[in-house]
Amino acid sequence: MMNRTTAWQAIIVSVMFAAFVVLNPFALSAAAAADLAVSLDLGSTQTEPNEQIPLRIVVEGRGDFSEPVLPDVSGLDIAYRGRTQSVQIINMSVKTSKVFNYVVIPRRAGEFTIGPARVEYNGGVIESNSAKLTVTEATNSQTESSHKNKFIIEATVDNRNPYVGQQITLLFRFARTPDSRVRNAGYDLPDLPDFWNEGIQSRREYTKTINGKDYQVTEVSIPLFPINEGDVTIGPLQVRYDELVASEKQPQSPFFNDPFARNFFDDDFFKLFRAEDIVKRTAHTAPITIHVKPLPEAGRPKGFKGGVGKFSLTARLSNEEVKEGESATLTLVLSGEGNIRDVADPTIEMDSVKIYSDTPTINVKNYHDKVVGEKVYKLALVPQEAGKIEIPEVEVPYFNPESQRFEIASANPLELTVVPAEKETLEFKEASESGRGSSAAGKNEILPIHERIGDVRNSPLRVWLPRIRPLAYPLPLLVYALSLFIARRKERLKTDVAYRRSRLAARTAERYLDDAIEAYNRKKWNDVFSKCSRAIVEYLAGKLNVPAGGLTPADVKVTLTTRGVPDRLVSETTEFLEACDYRRFTSAQKSPAVARDCMDRTRALLERLEKEETIIS
């Protein structure tokens, strides 16, 4: 029983405690505080009036929290300079932090307490630590950084009382002594919501003596155009640079005595190469306040849109003479010094001329710290009537801050001659069956549609061309190639005796063989042998281009052997010739069979000789 009571009491106490923890806002706040940490870090605890001290508020932790709120401190200007965020992963846990940057500028001497900064988180408020700042009376009125002997950083403007739209030049100078060693210098422009910046700054380097000391000066000039009236401020311009400082003694790492925490580069090997340290520095210029005057209302011309500077306008025509309905291009070039983008666009109106304008092209550049530019307008003029057209003077108003009055940039009038357009054919053709016919075109009325599909579709050209194309291209070439071959052969036969004899040798031999057959039919056996012998001799004489008259079997043997004819064929030929001579001039048997055999051998021998390429001369 006791045990059951104790158990119930424990449950009730646990539930009540849980409800207390969940519902109690203080408990929430405490839990939130455990998640979020806010710290305030002042760059220096001692300074002089108008010096700039960087202030950082670091909020570590995750979740949605408000931006830090700093209490106002009389005598101190605290300007917000943006924020950065960092994420670190340590021992597998993610640690995020946001750094809110400020600049503290003391306006008078005294003791000041900055903070605590307050951050709202999960319905609670988390406070940071406070920081004390001692401001002593200034000993030097010049704006200098903490390294006042080595570095001078300043920003000025060339005109603290400009008109709205009038260019001013923000000059930023970074001077350092020749012995100072600076690397990776850069600057950050402040937000300039009251100015238009073309982004075409120029940069110069020169040497200058200041207070008896030589300085190397980097000067950056930034043209700005004020866009709002009244007092406007150019915020502090931040300079970042790395200074190389000779390491007179090795810095003592807080972990130096801890062998486990030693930096890798603290090793003795690396110390051999480390004779100087890199010190990252930042500095700020003083904010600059200028008074921007409004443009005067008196004398403000109609159509003025805010152009301030000195401008001129020129006009030219692409053609001085055009046909009616055709276009000529009028090019207007506005050029000069100032905020050329804000100058009103020129307007031009003409009766009986249609005008089409194009988007103007603008080019600006920095010329000796002044923004100069050119704005080119192209207008297409389409005259609707023939005659002389006077293009009127084109005017563009602007405000000249030098003369402090409104002025007009104007382009001289031009003249355009419009000749009548060539008349369209006014012949109204008789309406053909297809309904086609040309008629005059009205100015903006198109000619009517065609009622029938034209003859082009069924024209013989379209029908026949695809059919003849496969032959039409190669055939003439083939014909020409064949003709050229025949003509050349004919020409050679006419001029080259050896060639002609060679080509005709077989034909000559055939003729003698025909004679032999005729002699055979007439049973004149001697003639048969004579003609067969003659056929072979004439053939060889033609092929070898030698006279046939004195070609004896011995000559044939020598000549053929010289030509490289196989010995067997040579001996066969000479034997045949000798056999023919033998049968002709002796009383050997001369029967029809022998004569027939002689003719057959002649034909066979001719065929073999014809195949022998070495015979050809």
Binding site: S318, A380, E445, I446, P448, I449, I453, P466, P476, Y480
Partner: protein
């Protein structure tokens, strides 16, 4: 000797030209798919014309475009009527593209030239055209005043005549024959070059017209590049090259830039 060289030159030049012409793709759209039966072409054309006359330009456009895409025929009259329908709809870019296609088929068609001039006057962008273009048109009139088929026919006739006179000159040595052959060969060369230009122009279109109401011309092939200038419906341009969905274009006044493919119609 001179005669032989002349014959060899004629043969070589003719062979080179013929080989070149045989290498180019077919000059006509014989390969186009044909979904509209041949016998219905005139009927559909008549219906489209009726729609046009009734003021139903949208329907007329659909029918004309259906005829062009659904049949293998390339007819200047369909392009011309399509251009008229687009003009009536206020789509000057499309109208100009159609008229220019009609002129490619019938370059001397006066109705098309007149309506093209009217459409060009109606567009917003007026661009200077270089004077040299007109001079080129005068000199090389055969390139601009003759269509592809006419050019090919003249080429084939001149080519055949050159070969015929060349063959005759091989066997019948007369100076007049050789001159006739040389003259025909020159004509064949000129028209052969024009034919190659025609075919190349078909294979690689080099002109376009803006069909969007307004199109930005950028300094590079992408929206992330700066806008150099803007063009409006109907502005004509030459095409230099293509990169993805962007064309590099050049205007007649020399300005160059990149324009999105969807804003223009290539002719």
């Amino acid at each position: 000797m001179r005669r032989k060289r002349f014959g060899a030159v004629c043969f070589s030049v003719s062979a080179a030209l013929v080989v070149l012409l045989l290498c180019v793709p077919p000059a006509h759209g014989e390969t186009a798919s044909q979904t509209v039966p041949e016998q219905h072409v005139n009927d559909i054309f008549d219906i489209a014309n009726e729609e046009y006359k009734s003021g139903n330009y949208d329907d007329a456009v659909k029918l004309y475009e259906g005829l062009l895409s659904g049949s293998s025929l390339e007819d200047a009259d369909i392009h011309y009527n399509l251009g008229n329908a687009y003009f009536k709809l206020g789509k000057y870019g499309k109208a100009i593209a159609s008229y220019r296609r009609a002129l490619l088929i019938s370059p001397r068609e006066q109705d098309v030239q007149a309506n093209l001039g009217i459409a060009r006057n109606a567009v917003k962008d007026k661009l200077d055209s270089p004077r040299s273009t007109e001079l080129l048109h005068e000199i090389f009139f055969f390139r601009y005043d003759l269509n592809l088929v006419e050019t090919e026919c003249i080429f084939l006739v001149a080519y055949g005549a050159a070969v015929m006179f060349g063959v005759i000159s091989l066997f019948w040595k007369r100076r007049t024959i050789r001159w006739a052959s040389a003259s025909a060969l020159v004509i064949a060369l000129v028209f052969g070059a024009s034919l190659v230009a025609h075919v190349h122009r078909r294979a690689v279109p080099s002109a376009a017209v803006v069909t969007a109401n307004e199109a930005n011309v950028h300094t590079g092939p992408g929206d992330t590049y700066l806008t150099a200038f803007s063009l409006h419906d109907g502005a004509e341009m030459g095409i230099r090259k293509k990169a993805d969905d962007w064309y590099q274009i050049e205007l007649s006044d020399g300005r160059r830039g990149w324009i999105e493919a969807s804003s223009i119609e290539v002719i």
